[in-house]
């Protein structure tokens, strides 16, 4: 079975500092996609960043970057220069290549403090 595990239920960070959210996954697939989604309080879930498993280079989107370790099945999210608007639930997610079902982790609640 394919699973996604986020071991940090809650984290906090000071504004302007850097924080890293952890995610591990389990799959026997060789090709797949990994995602980080952000769900702000009472607002819609949006995609933050995605990584194709066949790409060795880590994905980067402005202040957001990932550390993708395929052999270790690890996919962490680094948020640099944290902003108050980054306060949200963050979900790690997985989709096998050619698949239709997105598997989500339980989420990490991030608080950015002023």
């Amino acid at each position: 079975a394919q699973t996604v595990t986020q071991s940090q239920p809650e984290m906090s960070v000071q504004e302007a500092e850097t924080v890293t959210l952890s995610c591990t996954y389990d799959t026997s697939e060789n090709n797949y996609y990994l995602f980080w989604y952000k769900q702000p309080p009472s607002r819609q879930m949006i995609l933050v960043i995605r990584q194709e498993a066949y790409k060795q280079q880590n994905a980067t989107e402005n202040r957001f970057s990932v550390n993708f370790q395929k052999a270790a099945k690890s996919f962490s999210l680094k948020i640099s220069d944290s902003q108050l608007g980054d306060t949200a639930m963050y979900f790690c997610a997985f989709v096998p290549a050619g698949g239709f079902k997105t598997i989500f982790g339980a989420g990490t609640r991030l608080f950015v403090k002023a």
Binding site: Q44, M45, A97, F100, K101, F104, G105, G107
Partner: protein
């Protein structure tokens, strides 16, 4: 350009009742997926519809059924409601992938409370 819309926003039902939730996909999208998000949990995949057919289903009982219309909008029906069906129900739309992966866009959700 309207994003994914869902109705109603909130709904309260009692055990044993039936409920229908609705979703309109983002303009240009033809694929709709439904997720159940219990409080404090990650979304769980219910099923995906494409070309008016259920393409894949998650681990949900037959009480959960759906439909997709020719205009790509979709409904989620839940029969014989249980207290455990209380959750945020999310709809996500995308363009059917021919290769690679196409981004899903999520709606705001319908909060269902079963008493």
């Amino acid at each position: 350009d309207a994003g994914v819309t869902q109705s109603p926003t909130h709904l309260i039902k009692t055990r044993g009742q039936q409920v229908t939730l609705r979703c309109s996909p983002k303009s240009g999208h033809d694929t709709v997926s439904w997720y159940q998000q219990a409080l404090g949990q990650g979304p769980q995949f219910i099923f995906q519809y494409y070309e008016e057919e259920e393409r894949q289903r998650g681990n949900f009982p037959d009480r959960f059924s759906g439909h997709q219309f020719p205009n790509y909008s979709s409904e989620l029906n839940v029969n014989a409601l249980l207290l455990g069906d209380s959750a945020l129900y999310l709809c996500a739309s995308s363009l059917a992938q021919t290769s690679g992966y196409n981004e899903q866009f999520f709606g705001p959700g319908t909060r269902l409370t079963v008493l």
